[in-house]
Each structure stands twice: as C-alpha cells, then as structure tokens.
Symmetry: C2
Subunit: 563 residues, 2 copies
C-alpha cells in the first residue's frame, strides 16, 4: 500500500500513540472520515450520546492514556463540545478535536449550508475554538495536510492541551504517501537551555543544603506532564515528606512512608497545615493553583524559600527561568541532588482517623462515614472519578491504594463532567486490562446533566464500572454557597435505579444503600468487587450533609461573590 487516505492517515497516527478509541458523534460533514476509523485494526468508534459528553469522555480517556481524540461535525457538533474542550484546556489534558467541515468547494462558494449561521462565514467556529486551543489547523491543502496533522498531534501531546483541526469532507478520501507513517511523530520536548538549567540546579541545591525541614508539594501537572516517576525518585532519594494538593491526589503513592497527606491551605487537616507551613523549603511540582485547589488561596508558608517546577518554566524564590521544563530539570537534579548530612527525615504528620466502628449498623449514612469507609474498599490500580461537589471534596479524606488514578475536575468544575469522563476512563481501562476498575462518585444533581452517557457504558458493556450516585436531593454545593432553601437548588427527583435497565444494560446491578450496615454488607461482599457487570449504587445521604472542607470552601466562594 503506497498511498492511504488522509482520513486513515489521521487515525493511523493516533493508533501509533495507543489512542484506540475515538469519541464523538456522526454528522454529515464527518461521515466519510468515520469510515476510516474502522480501517485501523483494533480501533473503535465510541459513538457517544451527545458531543459534550463525548468531550468529557475524551478528557477521561486522555487522563489515563495521555492523549485522546474527539470527532464532531461543523457548527452544531463542535459548539456543543466547547465546555468539555475548555475543561481540557484549563486542566492540561491532551485532546485532539477533529471537526468535519464542509468541502472546500462549498466553502469557496460560501453556500448557505445547514449547520452554518446562514451568513457564508465558514471560519467563525474555528475562531471561537481558537480561544481554548493550544494551536489549530483548518486544513485546505492535501499536500501539507499530513504535516499539519502531525504538528497538531505533537502539540496536543507535548503541551497537554486541546488542539483543533478542521478537516473538509472532500479531503478525507484523498490520498497521501503511506510511508510518511514509518517515521513516528517526534514527541520529545525541546532540551532546556543548559546554562540556565545548570544555574537552576545549583540554586536549588543551595536551598536544599541550608534547609532542615523541606517538603515537596505535588500537584496535577506532575501527572499530566508525565513526571510521576521523577517525583517518586526525588522522594526516595531525599526522604523529604511529600504532600499533594486536591488536584494532585493520586500523583504519589499514598502508602509510601513519606506521604504526608493533602494540603489545601487553611482547609487542610490541622496537622498537615502546621507541618507544611512550618517547612523551611517548599519544593512545588506541577502546581495549578486555583481557589478550590488551595482553600481559596489560603496558603501561608512561613518560608520564602519556594521552588516551583512547571511544564514550561521554573521559579526559585522570586526568580523565573522561562523555558526550564520540569521533566528534564528534575532528571538532572536527581543525578546530583545531595541531602545535607545533618538532615534527619522528619516524621510525617499523623492524622486522626474517624473511628468508623462507633457507627451502629442502622445509623443513616453520612458523608463522613462514606469517605472514610470507602478507603478500605478501594484496590490497587483503581481509577476513581469524583464529581465537583460533595464527592470531589469528600474524596480528599479517603486514602488511595498505590497506582490509583484519581480523576476530578477541580479547576474547571463543570458539573456532569464525571459521567462522561467515566465512559472515557472505562474504555481506556478495557483496552489496558479488563479487570481494571473504574469507580464513579457523582451527585444526583450532576448526574442529570449527562445521564445519557451511561447508555454508552451499556453499549460497550463496560462491566468494570461502579457508579455511586450520592442522592442528597439537589445541588448541595450550591446550597452551601447561596440559597440554602431556594427552589432553584432543587432538582426533579428521578428513579435512578431504573437508569441501567432503561438503557438496556446487559449485565447490571442497581441497588440502594441508606444505612451504615447496608454499605458495610456491600463492601464485605467479595462478589461485589468483581468487574463482571455495570453497577449503580444509589447512596442516600442527608440533603444538608457535606464534607467539612466543602462547607468551608463554600463560605469563601460566597464571600468572594459578594465583595
């Protein structure tokens, strides 16, 4: 085969990077492109229920596999996906958004096609997406198209951001040389400037040498930019205590003896707060410092000795070193780092755990009980997805086993995100290891925004999924911010246990738990752990019950709105 179609070229390139599920919906400007998905061995077309859900699913998939692809159609399809794409931009998630656009001839004639604004402007949606993309391409020339596709894939992967490609319907069947595929896309980072890097390492080493109780604080970008291994090495080599942010949770093994807990400024456990803030050197890796990730910016380090490693710069105290990317500089640092001889690894803070044995079996379930108890049910390798609201805040008090992957949209915080993300994560897990469990915690309010995506789980028989629906009768997070009893925070109650059968789930279980005893029995049941069906567990919780860190955060947010 000396030539292949441009459409197939795109999907072969993605397959080379182990992107083997493509998310999206058919639409008449992308149909011919979709034919090519089926030509690539092992590749599948997810066929989501709507475009926003598809974008969320692609985001979830990318958080597991490092890159994802979303295909939509011109105008209607692509605009529906924008909130999901915006989330991938905010949270550093590599995502290729391929839009099937009208043929070059239709564009040239400025035809008033359906799916246009009726004004002959074919560039308007591209312009809109440009605001939330690392880069874009609106392909018009078959000769340069393969390079443009390569460039877009490269940037989406390297920068871990969305990239937009507009692909005209008539181009996807044109041929390009097949041998272009034999050279893989260069995904290497450009090297750091050696002189600046040397200076950075020296400065960091100096700070380390003169510190007596340094800590490491790891955040989401360390995972997204593929530095988990370097972080682990740094801890092992230095024995410095390590903490994560809420967004960084699962970036580091919580069973490691040097893991100290989750730091969220003033919303931290007191022992963690004191420990972190009394440190004399903070080594921050991959920070994404949003309000919900920092207890509304309530960090109060006593020290001014702060080192920040980022994907595109390094900062030491007040000095910024543009272009010094964390992966390489961490690797170099690991080669030379010396812990002062006098350094005695400080014992990590001991956090008082809730005594779950004190709860009677017939006590109604509470958030506090759930988030403590569930730790013992998690298993190594689980993917744990928590929705903005009580789940994302509650999960901070749970302990993750090693090699867990946590998915939570702490910065962007779009409710409904996790239902889609669970589909993407579950399909990624199916590709990697069919026994890998994907566990969703979503509120009954958030579930309503994206419920139909559960149908995609049913279609693909994602029997590796557990869907915990926390039913607290409405938008509790909003109630805590404003409008505690306002009817705008109510939702129409649904018969949630009917959702899986409605969507024709093949193997499924749908159960309700209301008491401590019911939840305990479930977690004690070994058959309940086996990934052999889709499970929905409706967890009944009091309307006004919420994790204490959420209550405190909501107060901060409310004040910020009113000032």
């Amino acid at each position: 085969m000396s030539e292949i179609t441009l459409g197939r070229y795109l999907f072969e390139r993605l397959h080379q990077l182990e992107v083997d599920t493509i998310f999206g919906l058919p639409g008449d400007f992308n149909l011919s492109l979709l034919d090519k998905v089926y030509e690539v061995p092992k590749m599948r077309w997810a066929g989501n229920a709507n475009e926003l859900n598809a974008a969320y699913a692609a985001d979830g998939y990318s958080r597991i596999k490092g890159l994802a692809c979303l295909v939509t159609t011109f105008g209607v399809g692509e605009l529906s996906a924008l909130n999901g794409v915006g989330g991938a931009y905010a949270e550093h998630v590599g995502l290729l958004h391929v839009v099937g656009v009208p043929s070059i001839a239709s564009q040239a004639k400025q035809l008033l096609l359906h799916h246009t604004l009726g004004n002959g402007d074919f560039t308007v949606f591209h312009r809109m997406s440009n605001n939330i993309s690392q880069t874009t391409a609106f392909i018009s020339d078959i000769t340069t198209a393969p390079q443009e596709i390569d460039r877009c894939i490269r940037e989406a992967y390297i920068y871990q951001r969305p990239v937009y490609i507009g692909l005209p319907a008539n181009l996807v069947d044109l041929k390009v040389p097949a041998n272009l595929l034999s050279q893989s896309i260069d995904l290497s980072l450009k090297p750091n400037e050696p002189e600046a890097q040397e200076e950075v390492i020296e400065l960091i080493q100096k700070l380390i040498s003169s510190s007596s109780n340094p800590i490491i604080l790891v955040d989401a970008c360390a995972s997204r930019h593929n530095c988990k291994f370097e972080v682990e090495q740094l801890v092992n080599k230095t024995q410095f205590p390590i903490f994560t942010t809420p967004m960084g949770k699962s970036t580091f093994n919580e069973s490691h003896p040097r893991f100290g807990g989750v730091y969220v400024g003033s919303l931290s456990q007191p022992e963690v707060k004191q420990f972190v803030e009394n440190s004399d050197l903070v080594i921050s890796i991959g920070a994404l410092l949003s309000d919900f990730n920092t207890g509304s910016f309530s960090y109060s380090y006593k020290t001014k000795n702060i080192v920040e490693f980022h994907s595109d710069y390094t900062k030491i105290k007040q000095a910024t070193f543009p272009g010094i990317q964390m992966k390489e500089v961490l690797q170099e640092l690991l080669k030379v780092v010396k812990v002062p001889n006098k350094y005695i690894p400080t014992p990590i803070p001991i956090i008082k755990q809730l005594d779950i044995n004190k709860f009677e079996p017939n006590s109604p379930l509470t958030q506090e009980y759930l988030w403590t108890k569930v730790s013992s049910w998690f298993e190594e390798g689980d993917i744990i997805v928590t929705e903005t609201g009580t789940s994302a805040f509650g999960i901070i008090q749970s302990k993750f086993p090693n090699n867990t992957i946590g998915i939570s949209q702490v910065l962007w915080g779009s409710i409904g995100f996790t239902v889609g993300a669970t589909v993407g994560a579950a399909m990624a897990a199916q590709e990697m290891n069919p026994n890998k469990r994907v566990i969703l915690f979503v509120g009954d309010g958030s579930l309503q925004l994206t419920v139909q995506e559960i149908s995609t789980l049913c279609k693909w028989e994602c029997n590796n999924t557990w869907l915990y629906v926390l039913n607290n009768d409405g938008y509790t997070i909003e109630r805590l911010i404003h409008g505690m009893n306002a009817t705008y925070n109510d939702i129409q109650p649904w018969k949630n246990l009917g959702i899986l059968p409605l969507f024709n789930a093949k193997e499924y279980e749908a159960i309700r738990t209301s008491t401590v005893g019911e939840l305990n029995r479930l977690f004690d049941d070994v058959s309940f752990k086996i990934p052999n069906k889709i499970r929905m567990i409706e967890v009944m919780l009091p309307t006004m019950d919420a994790p204490p860190n959420l209550i405190a955060q909501a107060k901060f947010s409310s004040e910020a709105n009113e000032n």
Copy 2:
C-alpha cells in the same frame, strides 16, 4: 419602593415584555441573581436539566413569545449553551443570554477561580460569544447598567438574535432607581428612509401592474420579524397565490383559499414546482435561503422579476435598498397596492393526496402514512415541533390547521434541539392557555442527545405535551447521506416507554404504535386529544423508510461533501 436591585431590574424589564419563564441552571456566580426571579410576581425559574437544553428551551419559548431569557454561570455554563445560542443566531430568534460572572474584585485581582481557564483571563468567554451575538455587554458599572440592560433587550427583540450580558455576582444586589421601569423600553423599529421607501413601492407597483401570474413566497423571517399579519393582508388584498418554504411553514394559514403549498425547489411537489417557477413575479418575504430550505438551492424561477423583503433591506431585481425594513414597507405597500384590472386569480395547484384508506389496519406504519394521517389529528392553535431528520422533512407533507405554530430548526439543524424547544414551547403555552397543545416529533437517535429535558416537562407538569418518538433504530438521515449500514449510524436501543416514569412524571401515558390500525385507534380516541397528561407515543418505523424529499436532499448533501 424608590430603589430596586439591578437583578430585579433585569427581570422586571423582561416581565414587561411578557417573558415570564427564565431558563437555565444555577451556578455559583448566578445564585444571587436567581433570587430575584422569585421577587417578580408570576415569574418562574424553569431550572433545566443542562445548559444546552436550557438554550434550546429558551429558543422554543421565544419562537412562541418573541423573546426569551437564558441564565447560565461563567465558563462552564455559558460554553455548554453555545450551540443553542448559535442556533438562535442562525434562525433569527430573540434571546437574552445572561451570564453570572465573578465579582468585579475577583476579576481585578485576576484570581485563578474555578470555572476559569486558570490564566486570569476573564474576557475569553465573552469574546467567544461575541461571534454569535447581535451585541454584547460585560457590565462593570452600576450607574450605566440599567441602560445597558435596556439596550441589550431592545437589540435582542428588534433584531431577533441572541444578545450576551455578563453580569458580575456582586452587582446584582446593588440598587438602581425604580422609576426607570416606568418608561417602557422603546422597541420600535427606526423608520425607513422615506425617499428610498417611496421608490421601492413605486418599483414594486410597476412590477405588479405588468405581471399576470405573480406569487408570494413566505419564509421564516416573516414570522420572526412579526410580519404575519402584513403577509395575510397582502394576500387578501391581491389574491395572489401564496407558498411557504419549509422553514416558513405555519407562517400562513394553510386553509386559506389562496394557499398553494410548500416550495422547496426541485424537491417540491411537481404541481407546486411548476406553478411557482412559471410565475412572472415572485414576491419573497423573509427568506432564509439555506440548502435544506431550498432543495439545495434548486430554485429555478423563469422570471427575473423578483422582489425580496427582508428585516433589514429590500431587493428588487438586482437593486438593493439597504435599511428598507420589511414591516414598514409592507404596511406602506398595503395602503397603495393596486392589482391590475386584468388580473384573474389563478387557481392554486391541486396536490394529489395519499389515499390513506387503502392501508390495511395490520400494515406496519410508514413515514408516508404517518405524515398524511396526522394532519387530521392536528387542531387549530397547536404548536408542532419537528426534529431535523425524518420529522422535519415529513411534516412538509402534512397540513396544518389555522393558527398553528411550527417549530423546526431547518437551517441550524442541531439534533436534539426539539426536546429542549418543546419544553420552552410548553411552558410558553402554559402561560398563554393551558389547553394549547404542544406536539413533538423526534427520532429515537436525536432524543438521546437531550432526553433529560423531558424531566423538566415532568417537573412543571406540562400535561399539554405529546411526544411522538419515531423509532427507526438510529440516525436515518445520516444513513441516507453516507454510511447506510455503518455502525456509527447505530445507537444503543433504549426502553423509551420507561422514560416518563423514570423522571417521575405525575400524570402520563406511554404507548407504542406499530401498525396503521393502532395509530388510527389512537387518533380516533377523543380522550387522547385532551391535554391532561404528558404522553409519549413510540412510533415504530422501518429503519430505511424516509420521506421522499429527505431521500432526495440527502443525495444532494452527499454530493456536496464529496465534490
């Protein structure tokens, strides 16, 4: 009360224009604003299931009442709505999109709040919406805020397009003078330039005088820009035969003796095509000439005598008269128009109707039977909503009773639109006359994109709704364009009749019809016509069965993609 809050001011202004249902979702930057909805007597907060659905609902409401308001929250909420807003832009629907944005202080400090891209840019979403808005305002000053709100409402109403308002969370509680409300917003169009208008009328009169078989062709913008009455007067005064486009269907009374049918270029009934194209003067009113509205631009008038009335200009043959708006010029024309003495009203074309009596009761239902039979079940005043796909094409062969309102998104064509639009239309109907029926025809594929909005119908007990779900096992319109047997055009089958009970509908009926006899019995049942419950009727249809005009259109679209 000498002062009121800015938030209340906004809703009082909307109430003055009979906008009494506000669509959207709560989010922490709009909560305090939502409190004010409840302060305005008779106003209600719809509380939709997600933002895209809310935008669709607002669009449907506006098509009934002339204006609608959608409230979302910053970033996540507003981006989710953009496809719905884009549809309102394309199809000339007046829509105020109010976005609750972070407080002025948060913006000034460039805080990395949740729902931002994490880069301190608070203007990016405003810039994105600007591409699909008539005008926008990002309110920052309380003193000019009321005038800005008035300006935005005025432009949304006059131009029948979406308008974007960003309203900071801290401003909605600040006070403005209450007496600003005593003067209503000036919604009058600016007068046409008299000299140009006079010239236009003379030229049109000349063309009329020398014509022997003129026709009037009325399209969607005649409804949207409030010229239905003028069109009716023109027909009564001239007795010229009148035709509608697919988008214009329901703009004119189909029982009127001078109504000739629907003209769609080469996809018209042959009698209609011949009649329209042989005319020697075409008077086009409110045209929106997209591919699906014109049989892929297959108009082939024999005459060059064409007059086009638009909302912002008039065109006579090749001469354009900018600023000559149709409403005023039609009113002026009506005062003076003279039909030539020799003019003999041509008999309108007689279209051969399908003989529905030839179908046996046990024959399986077909699209052809359904769209003919249903005409007899429609009633005066019905609102009939048809989804892009077999429904929007099939409905063209149905006959509407007088005062019907048809809703169909022929130009924008976003699948799933009609489920949301039905909610908006049903809530508008509840306000106007609780016996006004709203009838939806949606395919099983499109339904899946927006199904949760049926929950909003249940919440508000919209017992004036009939939801016909045409179950043909997937995306038939896409199959006809490309990929007849491709699995990407399949959907996960659902137990559709379980949807209403799952959403806790109070009074409801869910039934399936598969044969001619079953459908006939339903339509013969007088109790089935009474608006006393929400009804879902799943109509089983063959997968590859489609209205002939859709089959022809799909062929055109497929060719346009490949060329």
